[in-house]
């Protein structure tokens, strides 16, 4: 019997094994592209905020909004409650704005595009047909593209460099563009929704983001429209010493449906870089948003040098009855992760789901989880969190389930499991449960365990290497979450699981 068959019998995809076999040694996306960049001066002050606003050619109200956030940010202090340790961040030693110089004037054809930028997208595995559009070639969006139907918006350092499939989306009435374009082209929508889910004063990083966000994605799905394709944003930090502050705003009107994917990478550098994003989802009556993230920022080397600080605020507001939101995240990168995608279940019968895999290896630290705020009647939420800790990493699940007095007959189910690989790492669980009426139910379960010796022995006996076997077992452990990812992402995520755990055994 071949290795693959025996594994397939155990219910594990043979592809997983291939994936595990084919993955490279190190962080695959660690290359830096040497592109001429345009920077704003280091540091943040009102002038930088004004500069970012003017670079994006924003209207006056947007600038005021930013300045207001900035003034509030100056009075705030960094949150310290998470179980993460990192040296003090000097917020004045960061570039808040950087963009490839070639983007200042739009290139006319692929030949005019900085070849290095194209090279980057190629390395990231974005098909050539889409590269033209991503590189910002004028008119490239008009060429029909066959095959893969995923509309991509790529954010390179501070600016969005292009959105694909714009035309086809427009035919369906869907608006998918960078947020800077949306501020110009759809100010009424942005004005109506921006900051209504994550207010500019929400928390330290969100406030900073409100002041200095440079770009991000904007999605508007009109009433009754089922978005004809998956939407995707690709974030990449390339320049040195830059912070990436993107802002995503997705609005699903009554009965609308959309699935949105987000991927992130960054080059290997010795310095720590900051990423403080804000994502706001607005879900009206009967609408449905599925938001998936594969976060693979550079995690730093095995000694904890370098890596991205990922301080992200993501929140979904189920405003209408029967609104539905589903967060799925695969967190394998970043030196420090501080992220709690949340659901406000305001409409009656609305539903929130949170599926998460957080893998930390070497010196990585992750403090992540979710908040489920039940306000409407008969609201339901489900949390499945799988934390995997290896090397000297610390992995924390922190979550809140709050059922308000009026949220009668609500339901929550939470499961958070932690897996420890090695005796130098830590796995922690900090759930909060607040039940304020008696017709609702909260159920919470958590376990912590290690990779089962018997399973490992079984795989080893079948001729697998130890790392391969661990990756396989971990993929099995995280199966429930991987299954909730869209197909293409699921494959990538499985590979990532294996890569992230390299060097964790033996």
């Amino acid at each position: 019997m071949s290795t693959q068959e025996s594994i397939a019998k155990d219910g594990v995809d043979a592809e997983t094994v291939d994936a595990v076999k084919t993955v490279g040694e190190k962080y695959k996306y660690g290359f830096a592209t040497d592109i001429e960049m345009e920077y704003a001066p280091k540091g943040v002050n009102e002038d930088i905020v004004r500069l970012i606003s003017s670079k994006n050619e924003e209207p006056e109200w947007m600038l005021e909004w930013r300045l207001d956030a900035f003034r509030r940010w100056e009075k705030m202090t960094e949150p310290k409650w998470a179980m993460v340790n990192y040296p003090e961040i000097d917020f004045q030693d960061i570039y808040y704005y950087a963009r490839p110089k070639s983007m200042i004037e739009k290139p006319k054809s692929l030949d005019d595009v900085d070849p290095k930028l194209l090279e980057t997208y190629k390395k990231l595995g974005i098909p050539l047909s889409e590269q033209a559009i991503l590189a910002g070639v004028e008119g490239a969006g008009d060429t029909p593209v066959e095959g893969r139907k995923v509309a991509v918006d790529a954010v390179f350092d501070s600016v969005s460099v292009g959105t694909t499939f714009k035309k086809e989306l427009a035919a369906a009435g869907v608006i998918f563009c960078s947020i800077s374009e949306a501020i110009k082209d759809h100010p009424e929508l942005v004005k109506k929704y921006l900051g209504t889910v994550v207010p500019p004063t929400d928390n330290y990083y969100a406030t900073l983001n409100s002041a200095v966000f440079s770009d991000g994605s904007f999605v508007y799905i009109p009433e009754g429209v089922k978005c004809p394709m998956e939407l995707s944003t690709y974030f990449r930090i390339n320049a040195e010493n830059t912070g990436q502050f993107e802002r995503t705003l997705i609005i699903a009107e009554k009965g609308a449906q959309v699935s949105y994917l987000e991927g992130c990478t960054a080059p290997m550098r010795d310095e720590n870089q900051l990423h403080a994003a804000v994502v706001e989802l607005i879900i009206q009556e009967d609408a449905d948003i599925k938001y998936s993230t594969v976060q693979n920022w550079y995690p730093g080397d095995e000694n904890g040098v370098g890596g991205i600080y990922n301080f992200v605020t993501k929140r979904a507001d189920c405003r209408g009855d029967r609104a539905k939101v589903m967060w799925t995240q695969v967190e394998t990168g970043s030196a420090v992760t501080w992220k709690y995608p949340s659901c406000i279940l305001r409409g009656d019968d609305s539903q929130g789901e949170f599926y998460s895999i957080a893998i930390t290896n070497n010196m990585q630290q992750a403090d992540t989880g979710t908040k489920m705020i039940h306000l409407g009647k008969r609201t339901k939420s489900r949390i499945v969190s799988k934390g995997i800790s290896a090397g000297k990493a610390q992995n924390t699940y922190r979550g809140l389930v709050s059922i308000h007095p009026k949220a009668v007959n609500s339901r929550n189910y939470t499961q958070c499991d932690s897996l420890l690989i090695g005796d130098k790492c830590g796995a922690h669980t900090v759930p909060y449960m607040e039940c304020r009426n008696n017709s609702s139910r909260i159920e919470h379960e958590a376990t912590t365990s290690k990779v089962d010796d018997e399973q490992l022995f079984y795989c080893r006996q079948r001729g697998m290497g130890e790392e391969e076997a661990v990756a396989l077992i971990v993929n099995g452990f995280a199966k429930e979450v991987l299954q909730s990812l869209p197909m293409e992402f699921a494959m990538e995520a499985q590979k990532l699981v294996a890569i992230s755990l390299e060097g964790s055994v033996g």
Partner: protein, 428 residues
């Protein structure tokens, strides 16, 4: 709350109690250190993460509230068992209401006496465990207790102690502000059971420091008084040696505010510990169990089992934590907290935490909250059990997992009787 204000409040906390009488050198320095701790830690504040669900204002207040003394004609809990009875009235030891302070395998004296002795084994424990328990989370009320408490008992078990030591806390004064501090050492291979019951004061603050040596066994059973508007903040700081056994169970019925903190340090291999509680609240009632179990040895087992039945606006709080240090391999940690809400006004708030640094462990926690299961009620009613009675059966069944943690069956039965009495009185 600003830092300045918090310090002032800490000073005010110290000022509201009269300084205890002189003692031996070690006692005085322990007190002084505790005083400094109170000032350094500052008072507990509403915005402290550790006081997220319980407002410490009433405990911080200058005056103890005026609490009507509950007059009951029922026999006090644990009355049926043979015991060594020690009575405190409004926080003062009453020899006339107590048995002689002696027993087989037992060294026992009041804290007041012990603190006067120049060389006393209690000097290794008094204030020492409490100080250690201040990290990582400050417990200012415990430090206050060490600094100011003049009353309590000091018990040392040198072998198997057959008769439980029963501490009875009575009340006469409506506004008594009581501090009690007990120091207990269970020697290697010894066994001791300590019972506590009664409200003790309008505002009661207790600290119990327990050292269980290798192979020692300590059982603790407590029933907190039902006086409706009384306040209580209690602390148990325990260190457990190798192959030790520790069991603590608390029954709380009503009382306006109760905060029970338990800090367990498992220091020796192959030790088993259990902390459990059953609580029933009807009305303006807040009950908070805050548990911190640290595993610092191999092959140990710890259990936390807490059940709360709540109605008419009562609030149940559980903050439990299991910390498994890197060398505590093969730890088996279990934690369950459940709330049964009998009506829509009640609240159950839980924060069950795990912090784990060892990989070969099996730790789990569960927490649930909900109403009495309608299907089960229907089943019982279809068998001819009246609704009220069926609900009471369900309540008692719900609480039983916690009661099952009690080692002594006779004492467990006593607790069950009390619980069914409450259920009868409060079912409407």
């Amino acid at each position: 709350m600003g830092e300045v204000k918090r310090e002032n409040l800490a000073e005010a906390l110290l000022a509201r109690h009269s300084a205890p009488r002189s003692g031996a050198g070690w006692a005085l320095s322990a007190r002084r250190a505790a005083r400094d701790r109170v000032l350094a830690l500052g008072a507990a504040g509403r915005r402290d993460e550790y006081w997220r669900y319980t407002n410490p204002a009433a405990l911080n207040g200058a005056e103890a509230p005026d609490v009507e003394v509950l007059q009951l004609d029922e026999t006090p809990v644990f009355d049926g068992v043979e015991k060594l009875l020690i009575t405190f009235v409004d926080g003062v030891y009453r020899p006339d209401l107590s048995d002689d302070l002696q027993g087989e395998n037992l060294e026992i004296m009041t804290l007041e006496e012990a603190l006067e002795v120049d060389i006393h084994w209690a000097s290794d424990l008094f204030g020492v465990f409490e100080a250690r328990g201040q990290n990582p989370v400050p417990r200012p009320f415990a430090a206050l207790n060490t600094a100011m408490a003049g009353q309590g008992v000091v018990i040392r078990a040198n072998g198997k102690v057959t008769k439980p030591v029963a501490l009875r806390y009575c009340r006469e004064n409506r506004q008594s502000d009581v501090l009690l501090h007990h120091v207990i050492r269970v020697e290697s291979g010894a066994e001791l059971t300590v019972l506590e019951n009664g409200a003790g004061g309008a505002r009661l603050n207790t600290v119990m420091e327990v050292d269980v040596a290798d192979g020692g066994s300590f059982h603790h059973l407590r029933a907190q008084g039902r006086d409706h508007t009384r306040l209580a903040i209690t602390h148990i700081f325990a260190r457990l040696g190798a192959e030790a056994r520790f069991k603590s169970f608390t029954l709380t019925v009503n009382g306006q505010l109760t905060r029970n903190e338990v800090v367990l340090d498992i220091d020796g291999d192959d030790t088993k510990a259990s902390v459990a509680g059953a609580c029933l609240g009807d009305g303006d009632f807040l009950h908070d169990d805050t548990i911190f179990v640290t595993h610092d040895a191999r092959d140990c087992e710890s259990r936390q089992v807490f059940k709360k039945v709540l109605k008419n606006g009562a609030t149940g709080v559980f903050q439990g934590k299991i910390l498994v240090k890197a060398d505590a391999q093969k730890t088996d940690g279990y934690q369950i907290s459940q709330g049964l809400l009998l009506d829509d006004d009640s609240n159950f708030l839980a924060k069950p935490e795990l912090e784990i640094y060892a990989d070969d462990v099996a730790c789990s926690h569960g927490s649930t909250c909900g109403a009495v299961d309608e299907n089960s009620l229907f089943y019982l009613m279809s068998r001819g059990v009246p609704r009220k009675q069926a609900q009471n059966m369900m309540i008692l069944a719900f609480l039983d997992e916690a009661i099952a943690e009690i080692e002594n069956e006779e004492l467990a039965e006593d607790i069950r009787t009390r619980l069914s009495g409450w259920a009868e009185r409060h079912s409407a």
